[in-house]
Amino acid sequence: MTTLSNDPAPRLDRAAIAKRAARDLVDGSTVNLGIGIPAMCADFLPDGVELLYHAENGILGFKELSAPGEGDPNLMDAGGKFPKLVPGMAFFDSVESFSLIRGGHIDVTVLGALQVSRNGDLSNWMIPKRGIGSIGGAMDLAANAKKVIIAMEHNVRGDLAKIVDECTFPLTARACVDEVITDIAVIEIDRKNDRVILRETAPGWSFDDVQARTEARLVADGDVGSMA
């Protein structure tokens, strides 16, 4: 855990963010996990929850990964890792894979983000200063999955807000984010009612502590819970 000088309490580490995000994955869902913290969700599924994992390169129903550095290059996931062959798995080409995404057949995607705006716009493919970025499957997933969960660190470089009024980075998709899980908070983007609802805070963090590190105005809707 890391504590910035003015933080009231430690922030959750990356694994703990993934663990909290995994709690919102519903048994039986078809799920696509992005690279980074999102991919770590697979390690923290609650007991009894079975998901059907999809990866863009054309695989459905994978689970166990081979040991790092080992595995079959013809049995890869979209993050470049090598799963094991398991019963019930299916292979297909990229046309089918993106028909699955674009056609709205993915129940949930968990993605990382550079910025999320108060109305659920997402920026996650390019830092403007770099001038070049990678879209991959992110635009298709963000625009077309039934539910979009963002798992990310709440701030960059100390206290710079990533949950903002308007994204200043190039967009991935407009009005697509449903929920944001960070190292200090769980936030619901209630697009229908134009609200950004603080649902939970990390232990030792108050509503005001989180608001101070968030550009978009937060509201409470009932009690604010604990991420613990």
Binding site: L75, G80, F91, D93, G133, S134, M139, D140, P170
Partner: protein, 220 residues
């Protein structure tokens, strides 16, 4: 067009090396995850040195790439494609992956353009026709074809029917349909009947040339 997804599986690595050794220039590459394996190891087992599409930018043979994922995260060393782009020697056209594969599919299927919801409201939508269907806004995207497709399959029969293995399909079957000349790299060539008709992944009609690897090739 260069098939596969990115990483070793499904990539026509021997054909790519042959194209590099041929030395032809002014190439426009169409690929998916492109040029990130060499610096990150993406999709390659640890014991092998990764080979990727960046080689055509390192050699100066390519001047443009259309792809979905040309650069890794900022913490990785610069790829050959990003280097060439920074030096003003390469145009990099970044397309959402689902749009890229559908544009290729469309070219092979005789469809000049289609509407997709992906990319609306983002930089990729700039300058493109928008149209609403049932209250949702879509972008028009045009078909994408090529002079040559270099693809990879496990097995071909002498007619050119192809069989794929595992996740090696990716962009290969669609690219086979979308180029004037399709060249496939395979591990094995068999007589007609050597591929179960239920397992034909690409029809012989699309395949112009078959290149068989040497037995025991150490590359994936």
């Amino acid at each position: 067009m260069i098939g596969g997804f990115g990483g070793a599986g499904g990539q026509p690595t021997r054909l790519m090396l042959a194209l590099r050794d041929l030395g032809v220039g002014d190439l426009t590459i169409i690929g998916n995850v492109a040029g990130i394996s060499k610096t990150t190891g993406y999709g390659w087992p640890d014991h092998l040195d990764p080979i990727d599409q960046g080689m055509f930018f390192e050699s100066g043979q390519a001047t443009k790439i259309t792809c979905s994922f040309p650069v890794p995260g900022t913490t990785n060393p610069l790829s050959d494609i990003e280097k060439a782009w920074r030096e003003g020697n390469a145009e990099v056209d970044i397309v959402p992956q689902g749009t890229l594969i559908e544009r290729i599919r469309a070219a092979g299927a005789g469809i000049p353009a289609f509407y997709t919801p992906t990319g609306v409201g983002t930089p990729v939508a700039e300058g493109k026709e928008h149209r609403d269907f049932d209250g949702r806004t879509y972008l028009m995207e045009e078909a994408l074809s090529a002079d040559f497709a270099l693809i990879r399959a496990q097995k071909a029969d002498t007619r050119g029917n192809l069989q794929y293995i595992g996740t090696s399909r990716a962009f290969n079957p669609a690219m086979a349909t979308a180029a004037a000349v399709t060249i496939v790299e395979v591990d094995e060539i068999v007589e007609p009947g050597g591929i179960d008709p239920e397992r034909v992944g690409t029809l012989s009609t699309y395949v112009d040339r078959i290149v068989v690897r040497e037995a025991g090739d150490p590359l994936p």
